[in-house]
Structures are given as structure tokens and as C-alpha cells.
Symmetry: C2
Subunit: 307 residues, 2 copies
Amino acid sequence: MSQLFDRVALIGLGLIGSSLCHIMHREGLAGHIAGFARSAATRARAMELGLVESIHETAAAAVGDADLVILCSPVGTYGEVAREIGPALKPGAILTDVGSVKAAVVRDVGPHVPKGVHFIPGHPVAGTEQSGPESGFAELFGNRWCILTPLPDADPAAVSRLEGFWRACGSNVETMTPEHHDLVLAITSHLPHLIAYNIVATAADLEEVTGSEVIKYSAGGFRDFTRIAASDPTMWRDVFLNNREAVLEMLGRFSEDLSALQRAIRWGDGEALHLLFARAREIRRGIIAAGQDTASPDFGRDKTHKG
Amino acid sequence: MSQLFDRVALIGLGLIGSSLCHIMHREGLAGHIAGFARSAATRARAMELGLVESIHETAAAAVGDADLVILCSPVGTYGEVAREIGPALKPGAILTDVGSVKAAVVRDVGPHVPKGVHFIPGHPVAGTEQSGPESGFAELFGNRWCILTPLPDADPAAVSRLEGFWRACGSNVETMTPEHHDLVLAITSHLPHLIAYNIVATAADLEEVTGSEVIKYSAGGFRDFTRIAASDPTMWRDVFLNNREAVLEMLGRFSEDLSALQRAIRWGDGEALHLLFARAREIRRGIIAAGQDTASPDFGRDKTHKG
């Protein structure tokens, strides 16, 4: 047992919220976990699953007396949630979140945070394509990076305490500005999801190739995109609405590069294609070396070849 | 033991060729496997690994007396290989291939096939991001689809014999025209690879985000694209050079769809985004129901969560 907080409140009990419950229980990080979820079904399920010690009908009730409050609902809900819980936050408490965008969170949540409460936005870069209170597991954050984006006037002791919490969850922790976070994630996460959603839509709209053909022959690469595109639609809608500038910037660059690639194909420029394709392997090696993916040949997906 | 062919010759011993060796040995499908690879190192490794019963210095020597010849090298090599082996093919033999494009194979190989040899192009839709003689495994073709594109004058008995071979390797078999194959694969395989290569290139060229940041935070989605983009560059160069029209057609549609999506983001049209994102989940469900992917949450990639 290495209890870091007497009482932790989670607003939202989907994949990230429920995973936090599992790891906090396993490591004994919280004396008491109080939970809130907007849907009554999720609230009931969270109690059945033993995710939380107490479940509450309102977000304000959940955060009462909590030392650490973590927003785990889609980022589009944060402004309203913050307005509601602001007056109920305990002086000295840490308020953080797990949203995939950060500048918008500072904009939406910041104004509702009372003096004496430490607001430190955060983002654990981890997830699966599944969602809901049953999808969580304790290992989700292990060896993944959690990015904190403290404001210039943040209390170093509070930031350090929150860093300790994420490290106890198994994560590595990095600190940067909200703006830089949004740019980095636009390329490493938001654009990949956008592209995946887009190609699935393109495939669905073809006349010459049937839907059943797309499904049957998906092992050629397409199925990997559908996996990414199976992520929670509400969460992702909110990400794109709240990181518009950085996503449009990355999308512009992507489209320029794609035009060049298109021309290389049209002109039959095999050398340019090979050069570009070979380069991609280097970055892949870097990701495996950094422990952010496994080297096992997942395309096969045969259970005898899983790590 | 259910031997289907006395002697099988494989031209090329990479991922697909070596996987064929493993499954043929396991199921006892061939009396003798003769192999050829262009590189001396691969030839030596194939013997060390026991992939083949005999290894040959030339493709023509490997196919002598073979009842089934399978071209397993990059499709860009097929024309030259066919010209070389044509005169050495045994009357009554079946000549097939595993290339990811089919119309170009008919164009390049067809003219070199002597009368009395059954030329039946094929494509097992299976693979991993790895390559080389050590990357093969017997289960690669299990429950995957193998597409055959026999020409109009093909001998039904020979086609049926080749179908039986692929079924014995664990595959399902479908027959279609080379042109339709190339269109189907353009969307289910070629475009996904192109997009993956492209986004990796875009990420590599950014000034505001460092390469080490791209790697550290790749678990947000990007790493999945790098996995696809780690596939063999030579094989993929040849695919794009040899399926130009269909790939450009699909790429055009993809870009149109992406422009619409871009506009939805720019305008803050949350409804349009949510609608599109939610639709993708249906196709994903279809793929899992068809056994072409697993439902386990692979994004976590934790070994305790592998199926």
C-alpha cells in the first residue's frame, strides 16, 4: 500500500476512468474512489464491477472532499462539468483531466477553478479502440507517456504530486505547454484517427467494390484502419472540434505530401517510391526501441504468434 | 500425409515463400520442395532453416520437373523470371504466383508461358510487416482469402487442383477477374499502405515536433501506421507501379472525402463528424464477424490482453 490521496473523484467512467480505478486499487493509491457518470446504466455498472467505493448522482456531489479530481469524460463536456463542480472543490485539491487536447481544456475549465485549487491539465497517451466501464484494465498506462501541461503559475509541489500519481500508475511523465501538446498530438494521434475514419468512409461508398468484399479482403491492411476507426465517436468528435488549428495544419501537410506521392505513382517514379517507403522503416525501429510498440508480426494476428 | 504435388518449386523465399514451405511441410502437401532466391544469403539460409529440399542457383533449374511452380518474388521481377523459366516448365505443370496485383502479372507473365502449362494467377491476401526467409510461419494463410484470377481459357481441372492446394494451406478461395481483383485490393490493401507511408513521411518532415516526440507519443495511433509502413519497400514499390490506375482512382476518392472532412472540421460541424465516425464502427463489426480480425483491444498491446 502506498496511498497517495485520501479521496479521488473520477468524473466519467469509460475506458480511461475504469482503467484508473483498476490501477488505483491494485496499487492502493487512493483511500476512497468516488465516481460520477452521466448515464445511470454506467453508474450502476461501475458499482457492480467494484470500480468505485461510492457513486454519485451529480458531479458536484462526487468531488466533495476529494483531494484529487480527474475529469475522464469527453472533452466537450469539460466546460459544463467545471462550472458545476467549481464551487464544490475542496481548497488545496488537485483538479486534472485526461483529455486529448489541452489548450481548449485550459480555456474551458480554467475560468471555473476557484482560488486555492490546483488545476493541472494532463493527458495519458494510452488507449484502446474499446470504450465503456467494462473496457478498463490496470496495465493500460504501463510504460506509456502522460503529458502534463501546468500553467505558468502552477504550484510546483502540486505538479510534483500529480507526477508521482501517474508514475505510480506505471506511466512516464513529461511536461510541456498546452499549445505544444496540441501540435504533437495532432500528428501522433489526431491525424492518424482522422485518416483512418476517412478511408473507412471511402471504402463504404464505393460502387464497384461491395461491402462484403471490403470485409473479406480486409487482412491486406484495411482492417488495421478499421480498428483505429472503431474508437469512441463522441470522444473523437470533441477532439477535432477542440484542436481545429493544429489538425488543419497537419492535414494540410499530409495532403501536400500525398499529392507528391500521387504524382510519383502517376509518373511511374519507382525510385522516389522506394526511397520514401524505406525511410518509414527507420521510424518504426525507433518506436520499437522506445518500447512504444512490440516487434512481433501483428499482421498475422495468429494467436500462436502473439507476444 | 495428403500429398497434392510430387514436386513444388518456389521462386522467392521471403515471407510468403517461407510460409508456404512451413505449411506444405506440416501438411505433407509436396513430395519435394525446390527453391530459388536471387540472393545467395537467402539461398543458404533457406537450406539451414530446412525450408526446402533442394536449392538452385537459377530459377530455371528450380522449376525443372516441378508440377506446381509458385512465383513468390516481388511482382516487378515476374516478367524476367517468366522469360527465364518458360522453356524449363514441364508440360502439364501449374504456374501460379502470389503477387498483390493481377492484371500486370497476366500482362508480364502470360506471353512467356508455353502451351500445355496451366498459368493461373493467384493472390493470398495475408501477410505481416516482416520479410525474409525467417519471417514465415505455417499459420499465415489460415482463414485468410486466396483470390485466383484464371484466364477465360483456363483448364477447370487445373484451377480446381490449385484451389485444393490453397484450401489445404488453410485458406478460403475466391475467383474473380484480374481487373476486379486490382480494384478490390486497391481499396483494401494498396491505399491503406500508401496512406500509412505518407503519414509517416509527413511526421518525419515536421520542424515543430521532433522525431523523438513523434516516437514517444506514438501510442496515440501513429504507431499503428508505422507498423503498416514497415512492410517491404521493394514489394510495395512494385505494387504501386503495377496497379497505377486503380490506386489513383481510389486515391482520388479518398482525397475528395478528406476535403469534405476537412471542411467539417473547419466549420465546426460536430454532427457531420459524429455521423461519419459512428459509421466506421459498423464496418469494424463486420470484419470481426467475418473472422478477419480479432475483437481483443490491441491498442493496449499489453501481453495480458492478447487473445
